[in-house]
Symmetry: C2
Subunit: 137 residues, 2 copies
């Protein structure tokens, strides 16, 4: 099977690795990548200054804490994405994904976008700093 | 609920309309749209000259007939996407989606991309010519 020109099962893609917070690139769309990741526990607060970031929850539940700038009343809130829901984090918004138990997500963002953004807190060992790994090395 | 700043359930989005081959925009990512559509039967042969087109099958099964240019041996083949699989149709490749029974798909493509591409066969009444409708008018 040619990974570029044949359909890819997301379940198969997800079963091909076990690392958490370490996205795999399943396909590209122009200069964007479609990535899948297994996640559990906390990511770090980070921000993408120049791009929105799209999340689709494939399995489990994802929480995304957001520090939003709304004029004079900056606020922090958390959105909860059950399986089968989508959310776009706007560029410039600090956010921290969190999964209470193992979950699987699909993200869509420009090729090269780092998993920890342009600015971020200290990165713990369990979070991979990467623009995504190829699905089949 | 603010449709822009709150998560959206794809199931709820899909249950909010019944039209076939008539995509709804669920969110935007930079200058790209994420659209969902209900599909059944045949779309038309068409081509997007300037953009790849990403498909994720949410329910059912999607077939995509492709007319690929591979040097001197142009060929036609059909890829089959079961639920939970993804495929990107490269720019410039003529294609015709087909669903043997009702299916639901998610597509990513640049905002404004027409459902029938830049060049296409005659469009039958059951196919909507649109860059996508807003989910909540």
């Amino acid at each position: 099977m040619d990974p570029i020109s044949d359909p890819i099962s997301l379940d198969k893609a997800l079963s091909s690795f076990t690392d958490l917070w370490s996205p795999r690139i399943v396909t590209a769309v122009n200069d964007y990548d479609v990535r899948v990741a297994k996640v559990e526990g906390e990511h770090v607060w980070h921000v993408h200054d120049h791009t929105d970031e799209f999340f689709l929850v494939l399995e489990g539940e994802l929480h995304i804490a957001l520090r939003e700038k709304k004029g004079e009343t900056d606020g922090e809130r958390t959105v909860v994405l059950p399986k089968g829901s989508v959310f776009t984090v706007p560029r410039g918004t600090e956010h921290k994904p969190y999964a209470p138990s193992t979950a699987a997500i699909l993200v869509f963002e420009p090729t090269g976008t780092l998993s920890v953004g342009d600015r971020h807190d200290d990165v713990p060992d369990h979070v991979d700093v990467t623009p995504g790994h190829m699905l089949r090395p």
